[in-house]
């Protein structure tokens, strides 16, 4: 069942114009990215919580938490790749759910040219209903953080209904599920 959901998720991400790779361990994250992109270390920006989790895998990149707040925006807007973790995957639509996390600025999934999400297979939900009600229960006693649902790269069809990928947000979007 879980396997079926995972392949549904993968195909829905592809439907929405993104890519999705399923890997066995954290060690494979770096090699997967290397196959996709050639990049310089300083053009890869990693969120605080992603850096923490991926430190051992040898993933290069700048931990955004180590950058002075006033320099972050300039750095991100010139960056090639922003890497974040996430708080849920929705199989039905190929959606990645991000909570506004203290160590993960939303600008990471917004300003760089590409956005890659590192996720774990146990974060997978069948539908948005299940995922959102779980988040709500989690914050039943306090304020819920803002939530962003991301499905594929930024896109438009405002000119003659022709699909163009990469408008104001990332031009490429990918998910690596461990």
């Amino acid at each position: 069942m879980e396997h079926k959901l995972l392949s549904l998720f993968q195909s829905r991400v592809q439907d929405s114009g993104g890519w999705c790779e399923i890997v066995d361990s954290e060690d494979e994250v770096f090699t997967t990215l290397q196959k996709k992109y050639t990049f310089e270390k300083e053009k890869v920006i990693v969120s605080g919580r992603a850096a923490e989790q991926l430190r051992a895998s040898g993933l290069p990149g700048v931990d955004i938490e180590t950058v002075h707040p006033e320099e972050r925006r300039g750095l991100l807007t010139n960056a090639k790749l922003g890497i974040t973790l996430c708080d849920g995957l929705i199989a039905e639509t190929g959606t990645v759910v991000l909570l506004n996390h203290p160590s993960e600025t939303r600008e990471l999934s917004l300003l760089p040219e590409y956005h890659v999400v590192i996720a774990a297979s146990d974060q997978l939900y069948e539908s948005l209903d299940v995922c959102l009600s779980k988040i709500r229960r989690l914050y039943a006693d306090g304020l819920m953080p803002s939530i962003t649902l991301i499905t594929g790269p930024s896109r438009t069809a405002d000119i003659e209904k022709t699909l163009v990928v990469g408008v104001h947000g990332p031009r490429e979007f990918g998910v690596i599920v461990i």
Binding site: R12, D15, S16, P69, R73, T77, E92, T93, G94, T95, N100, P102, S103, E104, T105, R106, E107, L110, S127, L128, D129, L132, S133, R136, L143, M144, P145, S146, I147, T148, L149, I150, T151, G152, P153, S154, R155, T156, A157, D158, I159, E160, K161, T162, V164, G166, V167, H168, G169, P170
Partner: protein, 464 residues
């Protein structure tokens, strides 16, 4: 409010004569409908979802005041600053005041029908504030000095060649008519504006009463940029945007995105639960929520018209409407075109000026069938026609005509007799027989000598 709807007939005639426009609109609406069909048909329970959506919208509109106060309380608990505006003028004043207080001279804006309804941009510009529309379609329309012609696809009336010429002229760049290149040009020009603007304005798709969550649906990421980067975020909504619960969001997202753009979900959905908190690294310092009434609370009390407030602004009724497909959105002369526009405009704004809109329908009912929240649109168009006649807006000649028609239709003998006269006139005058408003464009059809009724009565082949 001054409406251009008063010139509907003239505008529609012009639009119908514009073959280019018709091709563009047909192509765009056809693409949207085909995509919608695909993702709606994959859901076995679509009809139940529509019914559920209808019921939830009804509950909110029937209890608007209590849901509104619940929402305001929740939004304030989240740290939002809530402003209630009774009418357009006060809404605009509130928004201008917020911008003035932070001494901002530029505002980045994502797509919002309410701000279109307010004519917010012209008011802000008159007061020296630069307003930058950042949704690609809205950016194109703003550069051209026009208004949107569709609620989800504002530049639907323009071809890529039109846009290439527009960019060449206004942005001083070489002519290229490749949508990808045109989009890249807009991205490049707008990125700097996003990074420096101190105020961002957005609309709201859904406002959950129980959690105060503002949901904003989009594809381009411009709404995310408008609501995350600037210090101040002003979210503008009308009272009926409220849904009962955070838990209803998955349902309404499904109904909205599948109907509007034929997507299972849009690229981005932002669920805003307040401004930046002390441990957040990003987001606006201030979140202002401006809630417009603008006549909606009055409509909510009307037994018939309240249904117009169920609308979630997907635009599917426009795409499927044979009238919209033929004339596009501008001819309607209202912010809200198409079938839902023809229902909302007379009831919410000015019935006298927009009295022609409910008549711009074949009453085929396609709009009712496609509506994701089951608004009985063609019933309301008919109901408004009756209201318009009752208010005496129709001309004396039309009234006489209708009285004669009624008198004829009330007796089978008179109907039979009129049919014979018609047959005789057509025989004598041929296909040039004049019928005002009709024969200038069409030939008068042949009228049968014997009516269907008399055939039924006398011919054994048809008789019972």
């Amino acid at each position: 409010m001054n409406l251009k709807s008063a010139q509907f007939k003239l505008q529609a005639r012009k639009a119908i004569g514009d073959a280019d426009l018709r091709i563009k609109v047909k192509k765009a609406t056809g693409t949207s409908l085909a995509k919608r069909k695909q993702v709606v048909e994959e859901l076995a329970d679509w009809e139940e979802l529509r019914q559920k959506g209808h019921e939830l919208r009804k509950i909110v509109v029937d209890n608007l005041d209590s849901y509104l106060s619940q929402f305001i309380e929740s939004a304030r608990r989240n740290g939002g600053i809530v402003h209630e505006a009774d009418d357009h003028k006060s809404a605009k004043h509130i928004i201008y005041d917020i911008i003035r207080r932070v001494s901002a001279d530029t505002v980045v804006k994502s797509k919002s029908m309410i701000t279109e309804e307010l004519h917010l941009n012209s008011m802000l510009e008159e007061n020296g504030i630069r307003v930058i529309e950042t949704d690609l379609g809205e950016y194109i329309v703003q550069l051209a000095g026009e208004t949107p012609s569709h609620i989800t696809a504002p530049a639907l009336h323009k071809s890529k060649e039109d846009i290439a010429r527009l960019f060449q002229e206004k942005l001083n760049m070489p002519y290229f008519d490749d949508p990808a290149k045109l989009t890249a040009a807009a991205r490049e020009r707008l990125r700097d504006e996003f990074l420096h603007a101190r105020v961002g304005i957005s609309g709201v798709n859904f406002a959950s009463a129980d959690t105060g969550t503002l949901t904003i649906v989009e594809n381009e990421a411009n709404a995310r940029l408008c609501t995350i980067l600037p210090e101040v975020h002003i979210a503008v909504m009308s009272v009926e945007k409220i849904i009962p619960s955070f838990d209803d969001l998955p349902l309404f997202l499904k109904l909205l995105t599948r109907s509007a753009t034929g997507q299972r979900i849009t690229s981005y959905v932002s669920l805003v639960n307040g401004p930046r908190s002390h441990h957040n690294p990003d987001g606006p310092r201030q979140l202002h929520i401006v809630i417009l009434d603008g006549g909606r609370k009055r409509l909510a009390k009307h037994p018939e018209w309240k249904e117009a407030l169920y609308c979630i602004r997907c635009g599917a009724c426009m795409n499927i409407c044979p009238i919209y497909q033929s004339i596009g959105g501008h001819a309607y002369g209202s912010v809200y075109p198409g079938p839902i526009g023809a229902v909302i405009t007379p009831t919410l704004f000015n019935m006298k000026d927009s009295q022609d809109l409910p008549f711009a329908s074949s009453l085929c009912g396609a709009c009712t069938d496609i509506c994701p929240v089951k608004i009985d649109l063609h019933h309301h168009l008919l109901f408004e026609r009756r209201e318009i006649v009752n208010r005496g807006y129709k001309s004396f000649i039309e009234k006489i005509g209708m009285a004669v028609w009624r008198w004829t239709m009330l007796s089978s003998g008179r109907l039979e007799f009129t049919g014979r006269i018609g047959w005789l006139l057509r025989k004598v005058l041929g296909k040039n027989m004049p019928a005002p408003g009709w024969t200038p464009h069409r030939q008068f059809p042949v009228i049968a000598l014997r009516s269907f009724r008399s055939l039924m009565k006398n011919d054994t082949k048809y008789g019972t």
